[in-house]
């Protein structure tokens, strides 16, 4: 019989964990059809772990859903399916069928169109199809400026839009979960976590994450100063372009053509954390999609991007 978990009870991480568990239980108790959005990355891994803890010894009463753009790293898909089997949590996978029909891809249509159709639109379609009234996501307030202002229980109208000027006041841990038919709430249990907290928690709790987060020799090409991994044969190479093996890792995971790798020697989790402590580049820089104006994330979010 363990007296406590591996975390010291008074620690900052324990407080964050407790808060997240409280939030997940509120969702299970207050919504009819909640779902947890699972994107296979490190934040999703932490969410899945917390989901299991929150409802132990019961199986989590909330299914997980992955919006698959069909351009994810192959390892992500294998990892996803294995974790679903191991945890026994119900997994829903959704892909925008029209997008597939039209052959939408990041190369011919560009990052913005691809993300909009295969991610933003797909997510809305999935939420409508399954009539989910609450969707748990892994966004954190330290990621980006407009997220720093978002509530933990973030209201969405029937068109999935976020109105930053009309956010509900959110006092104490008394979350207002009342909505009308068709409306929904996005819930962010990791709001108060920083990227470093996520990694330390993964380490402390022994949580599985895809090995893409660790440095390894991988075939990459350089595009506009960003290192892109050639994950399958669909990656078009210009004449004379030859993928090079470089020791790289990823700080975030998404569609492989849109996810920049960083050169790194950190091939173990502690080394990754150590690199983080001395790092001077924030995590979103690896996402090709947010590069332009810093207000872009807010725009995407208003339109329903997670």
């Amino acid at each position: 019989m363990a007296e406590t978990g591996s975390l010291a009870r008074s620690s900052h991480l324990k407080r964050l964990e407790t808060e997240a568990i409280h939030i997940m239980r509120e969702v299970a108790a207050q919504f009819a059809d909640p779902v947890m959005l699972y994107s296979v990355g490190k934040d999703s891994s932490v969410l899945l772990h917390l989901l299991q803890k929150a409802f132990y010894p019961a199986r989590p009463p909330i299914p997980i859903m992955h919006v698959d753009t069909k351009w994810k790293f192959q390892e992500m898909i294998r990892f996803r399916d294995r974790r679903a089997r191991e945890t026994g949590v119900k997994l829903i996978v959704y892909t925008n069928p029209e997008g597939v029909q039209q052959g939408i891809n990041p190369f011919t249509h560009g990052a913005t169109v691809h993300t909009d159709i295969m991610k933003t639109q797909a997510l809305k379609q999935a939420l409508d199809k399954y009539r989910f009234d609450a969707a748990i996501g892994g966004a954190r307030r330290d990621e980006e400026k407009s997220r720093a202002k978002e509530r933990i229980f973030s209201f969405r109208n029937a068109k999935h839009r976020w109105d930053p000027k009309k956010q509900r006041p959110e006092l104490w841990d008394l979350y207002n979960t009342r909505i009308h038919k068709g409306e929904s709430v996005r819930v962010f249990p990791l709001s108060n976590w920083t990227e470093l907290d996520i990694w330390l928690y993964i380490y402390r709790e022994n949580i599985q994450v895809p090995s893409l987060y660790l440095a390894a020799e991988r075939p990459v090409v350089e595009r506009d100063g960003t290192l892109i991994m050639v994950d399958d044969e669909r990656m078009p190479l210009s004449a004379g372009e030859v993928p090079q093996m470089r020791k790289v890792r990823f700080r975030t995971l998404g569609c492989y053509p849109l996810t920049g790798a960083i050169e790194s020697e950190a091939d173990t989790l502690p080394k990754v954390i150590q690199e983080m402590l001395v790092t001077h580049t924030s995590e979103r820089q690896g996402r090709v999609i947010d590069h332009d104006e810093s207000a872009s994330m807010e725009k995407k979010k208003q339109e329903g991007y997670f």
Binding site: A148, P164, N176, Y213, T268, P270
Partner: protein, 635 residues
Amino acid sequence: MSYLQADDMTQMDQATTAIEAYLQQHETKTLLRLLTCGSVDDGKSTLLGRLLYDTQLLFEDQLATLRGDSQRHGTQDGELDFALLVDGLAAEREQGITIDVAYRFFATEQRKFIVADCPGHEQYTRNMATGASTADLAVVLVDARRGLLTQTRRHTWICGLLGIRHVVLAVNKMDLVDYREDDFRAIAAEYQTLAEQMGIAHVMAIPLSAINGDNVSANSAATAWYDGPSLLEHLENVAVESPASQLGFRMPVQWVCRPDHGFRGYAGQVAAGVVEPGDEVVILPAGVRSHVERIVTADGDRREARQGDAITLTITDERDISRGDIIATTGSPPQVADQFAAHLLWMDDTALLPGRNYWLKIGTRTVTAQITEIKHKLDVNTQERLSAKRLELNEVGYCNLSLDQAIAFDAYQQCRELGAFILIDRQSNATAGAGTLAFALRRADNIHWQHLDVDRDARAHIKGQNPACLWFTGLSGSGKSTIANRVEKRLHALGYHTFLLDGDNVRHGLNRDLGFTAEDRVENIRRVAEVARLMTDAGLIVLVSFISPFRSERQMARQLFDEGAFHEIFVETPLAVCEQRDVKGLYAKARSGDIPNFTGINSPYEAPEAPELHLQTMAMDADALAQQIVDRVLA
């Protein structure tokens, strides 16, 4: 393809050792949650940006974006504009103001900080309250040139309302007053008085220039006269831990865990105190008791759990427990009540109206609530208490609160988790108000219970009648029951809703424990009068046919009713006639001594002095008398 798992990394390489050491240090760090507030343009965003910059939490790419943004939107002639770091929403940038609370994170060697950067504009006060509700400490900014403003007072008041006991008064823009000590001292003194009025115990005033970094993370030569700590130094060292809570164990049930028939657990977060397996607990508001069996967590069973822990409890008995119930120590459990005095901050564009129903969420329970009375609202600028019929957006008031069911609670001062509530608009679902419970009102103190949606008038109205009590008094055998019965039949035929309380019948049920002593006769009448009054509240015309021989009891009954709703009907038949009729053979028994205390024989009958109706049964027949009564009641 291999998957990463910390387990696999058996090699205790250098990084692992370094991380272990870091983690150890990181874990023992305390956490300080603070908010920054004050009037718009006092320099909050600049100060916070400066703190992030000084603690080196800015990443290179963020700095690059900041440089770009400073050129494009900056107000500092292309110099780094720290405010742009934290003004996140496009709408805010355009207007150059902060409209919503933004959360920021930074850490030093000693502490981790979560900062809620709160908006200054009055119309965003509700957002400020959002940030304040989870903060241990508030940094209130003032502009050294402008001193205390309305928003300074409002924000300080809200900090006080939400129980924040530590405030840093950051007197900013000292560069613009040439770092004059006198200016600083004057503002600090004025604020000290204000904070005391609002019950804020600890104030630390610091002279600053956010733009130049004076006294932000290190003491500045520009204020040589100031010998206190820099802002960061103070934040790192201030002790905000609340004095150890005296409360015993309590936990709101959040979710009932039933994976299979063999297991039934109650999941929640411990709000106060300590619990161990074997402890006796009470489940509130029901009040049933049981014992704690196990404290279950995913990391294994626990030998104890304390405030803040997320756990699942099992108990030794089968009890009907659901979400919203409170499991508490039997030693000093929370009180249970349905009427409260409470402080309230209104946050909705639609005003608060007394008597309107709202959802109230407290702990994990949601009930229906209404404000029965606004005792006063507060002018935050002058601290004046004003009378009010409603609370508008951003107004604060002190109110009486009434719930449709009793709940377990603690005063907010004692326990935030069991004393804080929000009100939700039932049409729009907006979070309309936030409040703190002060104390329970005794029911009798609450003179405004008629704010119930369906009241007596409403019930009478739906029946299309004026409720009334027809009180028939007279000797046994005088004809009360016969006449009352005919009256009821006629009213009924006319479509009125009636009920007849007959003395003999009531003595078989409600009053079967009562005899015929004077005390019992008094109690007999008291009960019947109360029942009759409830029935008129329900909208009925009630006929009471009781001997009711004493004047004082009939008077007592009369006082329970409104003017005009009580009709005393004296049915007068001479004793001799009654005795001669003796329908039930009682007079004979009384005469022979078999019945003690029989009215008229061996117990007195006090005839009414001024009845509404005086019927002499010898003069008219029962039908005619009944008609007389019907005419009078319907008049």
